[in-house]
């Protein structure tokens, strides 16, 4: 493993991990505040990307970066107000189910409005090209921008929750909703704002994720399960855990995808000949790059066996 490969993969892994964090942050916020696992979270990510695509065609990318998350915020808040709040009294399973239904619905609606194939949502000219060049390989500006935005987001969430009055109310509403209510704060509205805020964070991730990667109807499904892995591995409801786990999974996948070794090639180096007739050949010939897609899930399973509460989780259960 040489320095060049290491640095490039490290940077790519970090930027991918930070994008994962932008998504899991909103999910974790909603979960830890309201106890609701938002299954449609990555659907908001997708919707954010599509909104940004349409808006940027009219007023340009930078306005889209501002407006699209606001629209997603409104969607999330409306969903909480008119659907989620209604099923709250039935318990957690119906809450989860209704977000699951929403993910179906949003996918169909996106396909209805924007079609079933990918849309042309290019990077703005300001983000095209290389930010810097290292070992002859360009590191794109867009990825640096993702990193910057995610760090800013982390900082502002942290400040909002620990340093402001609203943050205090939110934290208190989580554990003692009745007390907070009787002190004169509107707890249902707080929940609505939190849900909208979480959705908006996903939408923001969509605005920059959509043009860095690709904007297509399957973008929600492909990243959805990974986000849940991040949240479980990090520890349910722990924002810092989600941060750690996002980086871990981002790096894990980026490094693995670039490694072309397999058990067979290692054995071959050790002088053991492996052919199609050897026992377990299909398993031995798999390269690490081929295994890359399942690594996060393997991590999840390992985590559950050895540390069920997650990296920074506080409670077991």
């Amino acid at each position: 493993m040489n320095m060049e490969f290491f640095t490039i993969s490290l940077l790519n892994g970090l930027s991918y991990g930070l994008l994962l964090f932008m998504l899991s942050a909103g999910l974790t916020l909603i979960f830890s505040m309201m106890g609701v696992l938002n299954f449609a979270h990555t659907s908001f990510y997708m919707v954010g990307a599509y909104f940004a695509y349409s808006i940027s065609q009219v007023v340009g990318f930078w306005w889209a970066l501002l407006i699209a998350p606001m629209l997603v915020f409104a969607m999330g808040a409306a969903f909480e107000r008119f659907c989620l709040r209604r099923v709250h009294k039935f318990g957690h399973v119906p809450e989860l189910l209704i977000t699951f239904g929403l993910s179906y619905l949003l996918l169909e609606l996106v396909q209805l409005v924007w079609g079933r194939s990918a849309v042309q949502y290019p990077l703005p000219s300001g983000l095209q090209g290389a930010f810097f060049t290292i070992y002859g390989t360009d590191f794109p500006k867009s990825r640096a921008f993702i990193m910057l935005l995610a760090m800013l987001m982390l900082l502002s969430i942290w400040l909002l929750i620990t340093r402001t009055r609203i943050g205090l109310v939110i934290q208190a509403a989580l554990t003692h909703p009745e007390t907070v209510q009787s002190l004169g704060h509107n707890v249902p509205r707080v929940f609505m704002l939190v849900f909208g805020g979480g959705a908006a964070l996903a939408g923001l991730a969509g605005v920059i994720g959509g043009n860095t990667f690709i904007t297509e109807p399957s973008m929600a499904g492909s990243i959805g399960a990974i986000i849940f892995v991040v949240v479980v591995v990090g520890g349910m409801g722990s924002l810092s855990g989600a941060f750690l786990a996002s980086l871990l999974i981002g790096l894990l996948q980026t490094f693995a995808i670039a490694l072309d070794h397999s058990a067979m090639s290692v054995l071959a180096q050790m002088g053991v000949a492996v052919g199609p007739a050897t026992f377990g050949y299909p398993l031995l010939k798999l390269t690490i790059a081929q295994v890359a897609p399942i690594l996060p899930y393997l991590l999840l399973v390992m985590m559950l066996i050895f540390r069920p509460k997650g990296l920074l989780g506080t409670r077991e259960g």
Partner: protein
């Protein structure tokens, strides 16, 4: 005391008639619906009933929301199809009617393996982990084309071996009856499971895990055992699916498949034992009939699902049971006119909404075929403003009238339910 005994007896005769009717229905269904399409649909419904019921052991009986149930039915299907291929090569002797048991065994083994990890947690975390395990297996299915058959899947021929008593399992009708027998036996077995101590304690784990811990049970282990039972029956369903279609592709273990089991088990009604049977029927109807009828079927399914979660979280089964109760107390007549009004206004409103949605879909996906589309025998012109206006008007009028009636209905419904509750209380105290 005496009254109780008589009541129990009454319920048992009721149960025997119910099960008898179920068996009769399974037997007679292909005679009533004899076209080859309906036979295929019935066969599909047969194994989906088993899978949805097994899913409901988790969701309805155990309160576990799994997003990876297709893993067990799917792997059961793969194991069955490999067993069939081995059997037709002669390396393994298994008669076809026993193949579903191979699937069941595979589902059982994989449930023992994966269930150990997934059932460590309950509630929301359980949901996420089953999703993760489901994704793991689906991703693996693309990594091992030797076992999963890659893009094309694995095919087989179910008519191997000697025919016994002239049954070769070539014709679809013979396969249907194989499925029907399994369907009946598995339904009965799963119903019996709900009456075992394990099934009972599973209900308790769902309702109040803390108290179950206090009376000395390990909730984690109860969930694990229930998970294994569910895996076994899911595997049987998967094996029957493999026999039915003679091809299995990697898609059967996908998250999408798991999602549809969840969706339709819930729609059928997870709180009643027979709910998933309705759900399986709806699933076949949606897959075969609705998807032929309209491109927007997934949208409709999603909308219906969300409305059900919000307004009738007990599913179709609970709607049926609530109205049966009205019949029992002789109060349905009072609601008859309201029901009629509600259905008429709903149909008017939905007509408008469906027409608008169909036109939207047409514009987005099929506009190359021209501006016109056929909708319930009418030709709708997507380019003319008038069609859109009519559709919108129908929708608005229908839904506003519906809402007005619904308010009256809700009032009336509340009064009647109250009366019934009081009547039941009076009976109990007297």
């Amino acid at each position: 005391m005496n009254a109780l005994v008589i009541n129990l007896k009454k319920r048992n005769t009721g149960r025997w008639t119910l099960w008898g009717a179920y068996a009769l229905l399974l037997l007679a269904a292909p005679l009533l619906l004899s076209s080859s399409l309906s036979l295929t649909m019935l066969s599909q419904a047969g194994f989906l009933v088993i899978i949805c019921l097994s899913y409901n052991i988790l969701l309805g009986q155990g309160g576990m929301l799994s997003f990876g149930h297709a893993v067990y039915s799917g792997l059961g299907a793969f194991m069955s199809i490999h067993a069939m291929n081995l059997a037709s090569k002669g390396t393994l002797y298994i008669p076809l009617p026993l193949i579903p048991l191979v699937g069941g065994l595979a589902g059982l083994v994989f449930a023992i393996l994966f269930g150990y990890v997934t059932t460590k947690k309950a509630g929301t975390t359980f949901a996420m982990i089953t999703l993760g395990v489901g994704e793991l297996v689906f991703a693996m299915s693309l990594m091992f084309p030797e076992f999963f058959g890659g893009e094309g899947g694995i095919t087989t021929n179910r008519t191997y071996g000697t025919t016994f008593f002239g049954i070769s399992f070539g014709p679809q009708i013979q396969v249907y009856y194989l499925i029907a027998v399994y369907c009946f036996v598995c339904t009965a077995a799963m119903f019996a499971f709900t009456r075992t101590p394990l099934g009972r304690i599973l209900n308790a784990v769902r309702d109040n895990p803390e108290r179950v811990e206090f009376i000395g049970y390990d909730t984690q282990r109860v969930r694990y055992y229930a998970f294994i039972v569910a895996g076994f029956f899911a595997g049987i369903g998967g094996g029957l699916a493999a026999i039915n279609s003679e091809i299995v592709t990697a898609e059967v273990v996908s998250g999408l498949r798991s999602g549809s089991f969840l969706l339709f088990t819930f729609l059928g009604g997870a709180t009643f034992f027979f709910g998933p049977i309705i759900g399986a029927g709806l699933l076949v109807l949606a897959l075969v009939w609705l998807s032929e009828l309209t491109m927007a079927w997934l949208l409709y399914v999603g909308l219906i699902f969300m409305f059900m979660v919000m307004f009738a979280p007990g599913g179709v089964a609970s709607l049926i049971m609530m109205n049966l109760r009205l019949v029992q107390f002789g109060r349905l007549k009072e609601l008859a006119w309201l029901y009629l009004g509600l259905s008429v206004t709903a149909i008017i409103g939905l007509l408008g909404a469906f027409a608008a949605l169909e036109m939207l879909y047409h514009l987005q996906l099929k506009s190359a075929l021209g501006a016109e589309l056929e909708f319930l025998g009418m030709a709708l012109n997507t380019q003319s403003l008038m069609t859109w206006l009519y559709a919108g008007l129908l929708g608005i009028i229908g839904f506003s009238l519906f809402e007005l009636l619904r308010r009256r209905f809700a009032l009336q419904w509340g009064v009647i339910q109250n009366d019934i509750e009081n009547q039941i209380k009076q009976r109990e105290s007297s």
